[in-house]
């Protein structure tokens, strides 16, 4: 398969403007500015079938089209580079190795909504990535690709790279906007939605790094070429970051609809050290874990993974072999969400920590039989009742671990210790 997103990865100097341009970079940007009208661009991306790669999978072109054209306020395009989902490191690769692809995608998206100020909000911990992005932006400015009167078209666009302070929640788009505004990284109650009331109350689109990085290719080759890949509803290619007990961990670009099992066994070399698979999280820490028998017929696209009872999410694949203590894994994930809950709304603020404390109690051999149903009940009380999707992100994995590995949890409680031989 031809690589779209990873096409520059591994090329010496891939992060520099010279190399990027020598490989056709910024030609799409030039094409957009010179020859396309915003509506045309939106239609093109709609036709490509590109969907948001941050996790929710919302159609990108449609998201752009929600920005009101008659609103006199400035419009903002924000690239969400706050990649923090456990097990997810795909955006980081692009940020560090192919920053110009992200910038070019950001410029194209900004043009689509006729924004004159775009932001790249990058996760605080990605210090090296920030340097790379800042340097790339500087190069692009100097080359006249960003700034005033781009390519003599009269179109102005400023790009600001903003480093966050390291809160997971700031990857949630409205929390990101609160943070970018200089406030506490708290999600905002919706409605209103960012498309009409986003950054500083102005129409705003927030797109993920990977989504934006796909744009130059789509403009270069056309929507049809992109839509020819993948499945009926999941078009194009997707990055997967594979970690855990796997022979060849790393970032993979896969055509949507690729068989999950084949991907793990062949592309990634199978479970490490010849051990047996116990479970795999397909879409980052917040997604329900799948058992080996559940992935037999699953393909790597939004619909197929959802049908199996999980979600494709960010494509953060976490592989767990037979030596994994699922109690400990669940406790570890619960600890992450308890630590990262912003504390704004009651169910998440109180519920995430409560679940974590019970998981830890079980892990430490002090669990009670009733704890499992209690966690299921708490997670059910959080699900769907919070301001932002974080509540679901904490509740879903907790419930899935217990439902799918209940025997192991019960044994752990009964024996008051870990029963998984390592």
């Amino acid at each position: 398969m031809e690589k779209l997103l990873l096409r520059n990865i591994g090329v010496s100097g891939s992060h520099t403007l010279a190399t990027y341009q020598s490989r056709g970079g910024y030609a799409s940007w030039r094409k957009v500015v010179d020859r396309m009208r915003p509506e045309q661009l939106i239609d093109e991306v709609k036709a490509s079938g590109l969907r948001g790669r941050g996790g929710a999978g919302f159609p990108t072109g449609m998201k752009w089209s929600f920005v009101p054209k008659d609103n006199p306020k400035p419009k903002y395009l924000v690239c969400n580079a706050d990649e923090s989902e456990p097990g997810t490191f795909k955006d980081r690769l692009l940020i560090e190795q192919d920053p110009h692809a992200i910038i070019e995608g950001t410029l194209i998206a900004a043009f689509a909504i006729q924004s004159h100020t775009a932001f790249i909000y990058i996760r605080g911990e990605l210090v090296f990535g920030t340097e790379r992005l800042e340097r790339a932006a500087e190069e692009a400015y100097r080359a006249g690709l960003i700034g005033k009167n781009i390519f003599g078209s009269g179109y102005d666009l400023e790009l600001i790279v903003h480093r966050g302070a390291g809160a997971y929640i700031c990857g949630e788009e409205t929390a990101l906007l609160s943070s970018l505004e200089g406030g506490r990284g708290w999600p905002k109650v919706k409605p209103p939605f960012p498309a009409t009331h986003g950054l500083f109350g102005c129409p705003t689109v927030v797109n993920n790094v990977e989504t934006l990085a796909a744009l130059p290719w789509i403009i270069e080759r056309g929507a049809a070429a992109y839509a020819s890949m993948g499945t009926e509803k999941s078009k194009g290619t997707k990055l997967f970051s594979v970690s855990g007990h796997i022979t060849r961990p790393g970032v993979y670009e896969v055509e949507m609809g690729y068989p999950f099992k084949k991907f793990l066994d062949e592309d990634c070399g199978g479970v490490a050290n010849g051990k047996k698979l116990k479970g795999v999280i397909p879409g980052g820490g917040s997604m329900p874990v799948l058992k080996p028998e559940e992935i037999e017929k699953v393909n790597l696209d939004y619909e197929s993974v959802a049908a199996a009872g999980s979600l494709l999410g960010s494509g953060g694949v976490i592989v767990m072999d037979e030596s994994t203590c699922m109690v400990r894994a669940a406790a570890n994930i619960a600890r992450f969400y308890a630590h990262e809950s912003c504390g704004q709304c009651s169910p998440c603020r109180e519920g995430c920590h409560w679940m974590e404390k019970i998981f830890q109690r079980i892990e430490h051999g002090e669990g009670q039989k009733s704890d499992l149903d209690l966690i299921l009940n708490i997670s059910g009380n959080i699900m769907g009742n919070t301001i932002c999707p974080f509540g679901d992100a904490a509740a879903m994995p907790a419930a899935a671990f217990i439902r799918k590995y209940r025997d192991e949890f019960e044994a752990h409680i009964a024996e008051q210790r870990c029963t998984v031989s390592r």
């Binding site: 409605p191 630590h339 990262e340 912003c342 504390g343 603020r349 109180e350 409560w354 301001i387």
Partner: protein
């Protein structure tokens, strides 16, 4: 004004007509359906964080918060469905797991929404046994407000109040997750002029009133709707008393006057106005000083004294009611037709935040008293004081105010008062002015009387007796009535209602009013607004 578009919704199966743009929580409240909530407050921005107001809307897969959901034509809302009841129970549990449940020592007990909603929506034993989060206890936020972090449910009403109402921004949420807590910004003190309102809007026991704390359990309080005596804004309050003592003021909602708020100065003014050692026996001056006497003897002395010594200056307190002012004016004129008659007036400059509620004029009934005829021959209060200091009067009748120090020149006034041939002071306490009097008449204070105040904007509002005056002290009106009687001008009207009826006959601006129909929120004078300068 924008046109109001009617919208019909189905609320728990019943048709409710409301207007476009209304939120479900408000539309429900307007039709008598109370949707439980913590963070929502009608005067603050929508936070949507407590999740207590989650309701079910037909055709929507997820429950929605009623505070942030606008009505739409035909929308069917369920506020008591099994799903809704289940989530309320769940939210109550979440809010209580880290709460210390220290109701026996919490001042909020009895008026706490955690208690109320727990009884209504949860009533289960706690399933939480894994160690509560601890937070700061008794943290002083400002001169009037103290914070208990463990009782806080992070509804952020206090934060939003300081951001949106006072715009003083003292408070913020700090830390994350279940360690989130409310804190002062560095160097900040919660001492804005409206600071104690955060206690009123705190739905739980996290913010309590340093003044009221530990004084009395709220269920023992007797609550009387009344008017704040602190200034001429006329904020609507509830005077709350325990064992015949005022324990606190709380704001009463009146959108035409004070909305949901009162200022701190007004809130705590009862300490000064109703506190201290009360006068309970009339006194007259004899060789060697003031000696107790009977009311009959004291009033006889007043009659004789006022008849003899002229010219007369008469000063009424701006805290006297319209009815008292009406009788006072009549009484003084009966003794001396050309007496200088003025209402005590003391103004101050206000900051922007103070101006949200406070009036420059400290007298709650300055406008009303003047309209009752107190305000003649003196050229205004300050001119009268100057003349008094200059020795232009030989007698004075002072009601309810300390004159010494009132205008900064305490020694001059003291000297002038000492030289008067006859001074009557009618007050609740032994003031510096009263010490110089020839007759001291013990009176009732604002909290012990009934009547009306007219605020700066021309709104007539009812003052009600919250406590009973001590034995020996008389109502100002009764004193005036007895003096009128002694002077041969007995009045046919005695009760506040009767006097008010007389006012409506004699004072043109009040002619269309009726005492009993003034209502809990007052009524505007037909002559309308505009402050009396």
């Amino acid at each position: 004004m924008a046109t109001v578009e009617p919208v019909k919704i189905i609320l728990d199966g019943k048709e409710v007509v409301t207007t476009k743009g209304t939120t479900v929580i408000k539309a429900a409240a307007d039709s008598g359906v109370a949707i439980p909530h913590y963070c929502y407050h009608p005067k603050l921005s929508i936070a949507g964080n407590c999740r207590m107001c989650l309701i079910e809307i037909e055709k929507m897969p997820k429950l929605q918060i009623a505070c942030n959901t606008q009505v739409a034509e035909g929308m069917s809302v369920l506020t008591e469905s099994p799903k809704v009841l289940a989530v309320r129970k769940a939210v109550m549990e979440f809010l209580l797991i880290n709460h210390p449940v220290d109701c026996p020592i919490c001042d909020q007990a009895g008026e706490c929404q955690l208690q109320n909603y727990y009884m209504e929506h949860n009533r289960e034993a706690s399933r939480f046994e894994v160690g509560k989060v601890h937070d700061r206890k008794k943290t002083i936020f400002g001169p009037n407000v103290i914070f208990d972090g463990e009782r806080c449910i992070k509804c952020t009403r206090c934060v939003r109040f300081c951001q949106e109402i006072t715009k003083t921004d003292e408070l913020a949420v700090v830390n994350r997750g279940d360690h989130s807590t409310i804190a002062l910004f560095d160097e900040a003190v919660l001492d804005n002029p409206l600071s104690a309102n955060v206690v009123d809007i705190c739905p739980v026991g996290a913010l309590t009133d340093r003044d009221f704390r530990f004084k009395v359990r709220v269920w023992y309080l007797e609550k009387t709707p009344s008017i704040c005596p602190g200034c001429s804004t006329g904020c609507n309050i509830s005077v709350e008393a325990y064992q015949n003592k005022i324990a606190r003021f709380k704001p009463r909602v009146n959108e035409a006057v004070n909305s949901h708020w009162i200022c701190d100065e007004g809130r705590y003014c009862f300490h000064d106005l109703a506190g201290g050692e009360r006068l309970t026996t009339p006194m007259i001056r004899q060789e060697g000083g003031l000696v107790p006497t009977t009311w009959d003897q004291a009033l006889l002395t007043v009659c004789t004294g006022l008849g003899a010594a002229k010219p007369l200056a008469a000063i009424l307190s701006g805290r006297n009611t319209n009815e008292e002012a009406f009788l006072f004016a009549k009484m003084i004129k009966q003794f001396s037709a050309d007496a200088a008659l003025e209402v005590f007036y003391q103004a101050r400059a206000l900051t922007t935040t103070q101006k949200i509620l406070m009036s420059p004029d400290r007298s709650p009934n300055f406008r009303g008293a003047r309209e009752m005829g107190v305000g003649s021959n003196g050229g205004g209060f300050n001119a009268l004081m100057q003349k008094l200091a200059a020795g232009s009067y030989s007698a004075a009748f002072v009601v309810g105010e300390e004159l010494i120090g009132a205008n900064g020149e305490s020694e001059k006034i003291r000297g002038a008062l000492e030289k008067l041939a006859f001074l009557v002071v009618q007050d609740t306490r032994m003031t510096e002015t009263a010490k110089l009097a020839h007759v001291v008449l013990p009176a009732a204070h604002f909290g012990e009387k009934e009547g009306t105040y007219t605020n700066r904007a021309g709104r007539v509002q009812r003052l009600n007796a919250a406590v009973i005056a001590p034995e020996g002290a008389l109502q100002d009106s009764e004193i005036f009535l007895r003096l009128l009687d002694s002077a041969g001008a007995a009045q046919a009207h005695a009760t506040p209602a009767e006097v008010f009826a007389a006012i409506t006959r004699e004072v043109a601006a009040y002619q269309n009013l009726e005492y009993d129909s003034i209502g809990a929120l007052g009524t505007e004078l037909a002559s309308g607004g505009g402050a009396v300068s």
